[in-house]
Amino acid sequence: MKSEILYPGAFPMARVELGNGEQIKAESGAMVACSPTIDIESKMEGGFLGALSRKFLTGEKFFFQTLKASRGAGEVLLAPTVPGEIVVLELDGVNEYMVQKDGFLAGADGITIDSQMQSMSRGLLGGEGFFILKMSGKGMLLLNSFGAVHKIELKPGQEYIVDNSHLVAWSTTTSYNIEKATSGWVASFTSGEGFVCRFRGPGVVYIQSRNPGGFGAWVRQFIPVTE
């Protein structure tokens, strides 16, 4: 399996080459095009209940698609819904990542996806819902962001504070606390309260340079309100 990011920047696309019999899991709706040798199956990762809990608890789509080169080698083109970068991570069986629910684009078959419950306070305050996705196993993992992806590297004990809505993924060797954002963190046109995550290393944290919620609020102010 080989992957390549085409048109890096705001509107990228991922090309994944699959050998005969190889398969990849992708967010449903991510596929743009593929070779005629590729078969698409909608598979419920983690069984029916797992899929159901993802559906209701994270709002994540019910199915991941499995794209399989069952009739010979071929390639698939994948693209996220929102404008933004795609990053490729290689999981080697020991490093694991937590991924914010919209951040997953695709993963090799060896990647295990779990809906992970955040601790109660984190989930309630975090605004990401109670569940995020935990990626473990071995193989390639494709994540997508809204805007550009920025990687923050943390040494053991080093801390960093990130606006919650800018989070994409973080390694499980980090720990974090959710804190209420002080006024400086929250844009004037977003209503409600913001939260920030105080991360503590070691590990890496991937953040996105744009905030989907903030962007939505910004767009909404131009939409005429009909009575």
Partner: protein, 382 residues
């Protein structure tokens, strides 16, 4: 070339921030760490560290990883161990001075697990409660439970409450008033198809304006209520309403609702005995059981139909209900267990208007004589 499956991540200045995958071996004196070189599966260099140099704690996102750190030959190293086998091996080999921190780390992991279980329990419990709420809201479960209670058992429950109540009352054993109430009850009961209940009526000498029917068909009428009635049809109206609470098993529904889910489940699963004890424990009194609005409407409607079938003029029911609700009638106990509303009266009137006119059949007794026997001054009779 040896294929290596890493089992830990090592952090240090020379390694990438996401950690260097490595293979950790627990030996007698400490740990051996074999790093993978950049090329996949190729063995890189090996480092060793003695147990005596290690500081350990719990770390990671869920505080469930064992973190071992030490000052290496060049720089500070931090190792994150997650695999349970590795952690177990470490705990077995570790010397005494690491026992305390290991215990503390294990305690942290236990706390995290407990918290997870608690949150899951809370989420599960909430979902369960919502489902429960829906079921109770639509009364499906209550109905299911009521249907499972056998008539004999309901009779036992009602009879014991009936005997207990009557023991402390001035019971009117015979006389024209008792005969009158019995005749009304019989006329009504004879019109109930497939009636499983044997209605038992007792008149109690008391100024309390009340009448009630217990589950199983045990009816009590107070002379106070009879004195307020200007015609036998009015008393019959109350009786028809009461009998239909019994026939529709409204009392049981209320009991089960008040006892709650545990009682319902035990009944649905086939274990009704013990409900009487539970009622005592919860202080549920059959006599003061307040019926719901829907039950009142149902008892009104079916009561009116029953009066009609028994050829008793149904208008008495409506006029009596209306008079009882008038303010100058004083305290009317009956209304406290059968909440009256103007909607109820309107509903009854509308239903009566729809009924085809029929010739009523008079009772065998004279109401004025009954009133005399009850001690109502005949001057106030209409």
């Amino acid at each position: 070339m040896i294929e290596l499956q890493p089992n830990a991540l090592c952090f240090g200045d020379e390694f990438p921030a996401s950690g260097a995958p490595c293979l950790v071996h627990v030996e007698g004196q400490g740990l051996t760490i074999t790093f993978l070189s950049d090329r996949e599966g190729v063995v890189g260099h090996t480092e060793s560290v003695g147990f005596s140099d290690l500081t350990i704690s719990a770390g990671g996102l869920d505080h469930n990883q064992l973190v071992a750190s030490w000052s290496g030959s060049v720089e500070q190293r931090t190792l994150y161990l997650k695999s349970p086998e590795l952690i177990r091996a470490f705990r077995q080999a570790a010397p005494a001075h690491l026992n305390r921190p290991l215990e503390q780390a294990a305690e942290q992991v236990r706390q995290v697990r407990q918290r997870h279980r608690f949150v899951w329990g809370l989420v599960g419990g909430t979902v369960f409660a919502v489902i429960l709420g829906l079921w109770f809201g639509s009364d499906v479960l209550v109905e299911l439970a009521v249907n499972r209670i056998p008539i004999e058992w309901e009779q036992k429950l009602g009879e014991s409450a009936y005997r207990e109540f009557l023991a402390g009352q001035d019971v009117m054993k015979e006389g024209i008033a008792v005969d009158a109430v019995k005749e009304m009850t019989q006329r009504l009961a004879s019109q109930v198809p497939n009636n499983p209940y044997r209605f038992d009526v007792t008149v109690v000498r008391s100024d309390v304006v009340n009448a009630f029917a217990l589950p199983g068909g045990y009816v009590v009428v107070f002379t106070g209520l009879m004195k307020k009635a200007e015609s036998p049809e009015e008393v019959a109206g109350v009786l028809a309403h009461e009998l239909n609470h019994v026939l529709r098993r409204h009392g049981l529904e209320r009991i089960i609702k008040q006892l709650g889910f545990v009682a319902v489940v035990s009944i649905v699963l086939g274990n009704p005995p013990g409900l009487g004890g539970a009622m005592k424990q919860f202080g549920i009194e059959l006599m003061t059981l307040k019926f719901g609005r829907a039950q009142e409407t149902e008892a009104d409607t079916t009561g009116l139909d029953l009066l009609y079938r028994a050829k008793i003029h149904p208008e008495g029911m409506i006029t009596f209900f209306q008079r009882l609700t008038e303010k100058d009638e004083g305290r009317v106990e009956w209304l406290s267990t059968h909440p009256m509303s103007s909607a109820r009266a309107d509903h009854l009137k509308a239903r009566l208007a729809e009924m085809p006119k029929q010739q009523s059949e008079p009772f065998s007794f004279e109401w004025t004589k009954v009133r005399d026997a009850l001690g109502v001054s005949s001057g106030s009779a209409p």
